[in-house]
């Protein structure tokens, strides 16, 4: 059985069970656990995954998990999550052994850091590359596209639908936001892909 991937352009970022429920109530079939303790919401997450919700976890920021194989096995096998995000290439390589989709995080904070991130892209290509903060995407997209044609996600500092649309217009495939107002705006957008 293959877990679901991401469909559509909006990926709600949640940090607790309440936000998870809000996203699911709006009809989303996918969430990103961006922060908070994954272990504190493990029951609702496992239930959502069983119902076919695609769940992605930012392993660099979420609390309660070690960045190791035991944690990856737990996410893949026990919880049925769809994928993981990290800046660490080795962790992503391990994750693909557990049939988790791998999303490589790259920080777009300055040109040096961006280049370091782009140089570390794992092979074979990850499922997606997540650029943080997303609002930097309009500025850095040409540099990214000069290196890779992998789908681009934008995460971080998307606090309005206008910002999300700007990032998508700049060429991002998926955008993530932690704001319910933004989720509402995009919940009526037809899913493409």
């Amino acid at each position: 059985m293959r877990t679901p991937g991401v469909l559509g352009v909006m990926l709600p970022a949640v940090r607790d069970g309440a936000a998870l429920n809000q996203a699911l109530d709006l009809g989303y079939r996918q969430v990103l656990i961006e922060r908070g303790s994954l272990l504190a919401m493990v029951g609702p997450l496992a239930a959502a995954a069983r119902q076919g919700i695609a769940i992605f976890v930012n392993l660099d920021a979420v609390e309660g998990l070690a960045p190791d194989s035991a944690a990856l096995a737990f996410l893949a096998t026990d919880l049925g999550f769809s994928g993981v995000l990290s800046v660490k290439p080795q962790l992503l390589r391990d994750a693909s052994r557990f049939r988790l989709r791998t999303v490589q995080r790259i920080h777009a904070l300055d040109s040096t850091g961006l280049q370091t991130g782009l140089n570390s892209i794992v092979s074979p290509s990850p499922y997606a590359i997540a650029i943080a903060p997303a609002v930097a995407i309009p500025q850095v997209m040409p540099t990214i596209r000069a290196t890779t044609s992998t789908p681009i996600w934008g995460t971080g500092f998307i606090t309005s639908a206008d910002q999300a649309n700007e990032v998508l217009a700049a060429g991002a495939d998926v955008v993530s936001s932690g704001r319910i107002e933004v989720w509402r705006e995009f919940s009526r957008v037809p899913v493409r892909g």
């Binding site: 970022a13 940090r15 961006e34 922060r35 920021a61 920080h107 777009a108 904070l109 300055d110 040109s111 040096t112 943080a132 903060p133 609002v135 930097a136 500025q139 850095v140 995460t155 971080g156 500092f157 998307i158 606090t159 932690g178």
Partner: protein, 208 residues
């Protein structure tokens, strides 16, 4: 065979007392509010010839850093080294002490609160980076800065600054430098207009 250039080996007299005074830096940024970010040695001559009062070394070679730093100081500018990105140097008190005592840097740049304390102990200026990749992480990043009390905060990337400046101000009264993808004059003016002390950029066209 590689010579390790440190002050112990090559002691220029003028480096006996390195200026670690944040007051002088603030004053200099008041006149020319730009720091030149140097990623490769070949970018240095242009920065030396410019009017920037401070040079930030981003990927410096720790054990061959001395001549670069002294060249900056010989021009009456202040030299800062990003300790987190230096290959070969411990990101710890001993690493900060090496930069302060042997190289004689005016200050260090770091993302780590622990190194801010080490810089304070070594009497060099501390620039702590506020790395903004995640809005959900902003409150905890601000409390870490509030606790560490660096001399200056460097906010990255520049595009975020207008979105967060009020939130930062409400929490911190520290002077702010804006850096990261600041490539256009309009971005520089925008940051300064919003109350940034200075910008830091590797775009040589923005060095006055």
């Amino acid at each position: 065979m590689v010579a390790i250039a440190t002050r112990t080996i090559v002691p220029p007299a003028r480096l006996r007392s390195v200026d670690g005074s944040v007051g002088r830096l603030l004053e200099a940024f008041g006149r020319v509010p730009v720091a030149a970010v140097i990623r490769r040695g070949e970018e240095l001559p242009r920065a030396l010839a410019s009017h920037v009062p401070a040079v930030f070394f981003l990927r410096a070679p720790a054990f061959h850093l001395g001549p670069l730093v002294w060249a900056v100081q010989a021009r009456g500018k202040m030299a800062f080294v990003h300790i987190d990105l230096i290959a070969g140097l411990g990101k710890d008190r001993a690493g900060v002490a090496f930069l302060a005592r042997e190289i004689g840097v005016n200050g260090i740049i770091t993302s780590h609160s622990g190194l801010v304390a080490a810089a304070r102990a070594e009497r060099v200026i501390s620039v702590q980076r506020l790395l903004l990749y995640d809005d959900l992480g902003l409150p905890s990043a601000l409390s870490a800065l509030d606790h560490a009390r660096p001399d200056i905060v460097e906010v990255l990337p520049g595009v975020i600054f207008p979105l967060v400046v009020d939130q930062i101000r409400a929490r911190l009264s520290l002077p702010m430098i804006v850096g990261g993808f600041v490539r256009e004059p309009a971005q520089r003016e925008g940051a300064l207009h919003r109350g940034a002390l200075a910008i830091s950029t590797s775009t040589a066209e923005l060095w006055p």
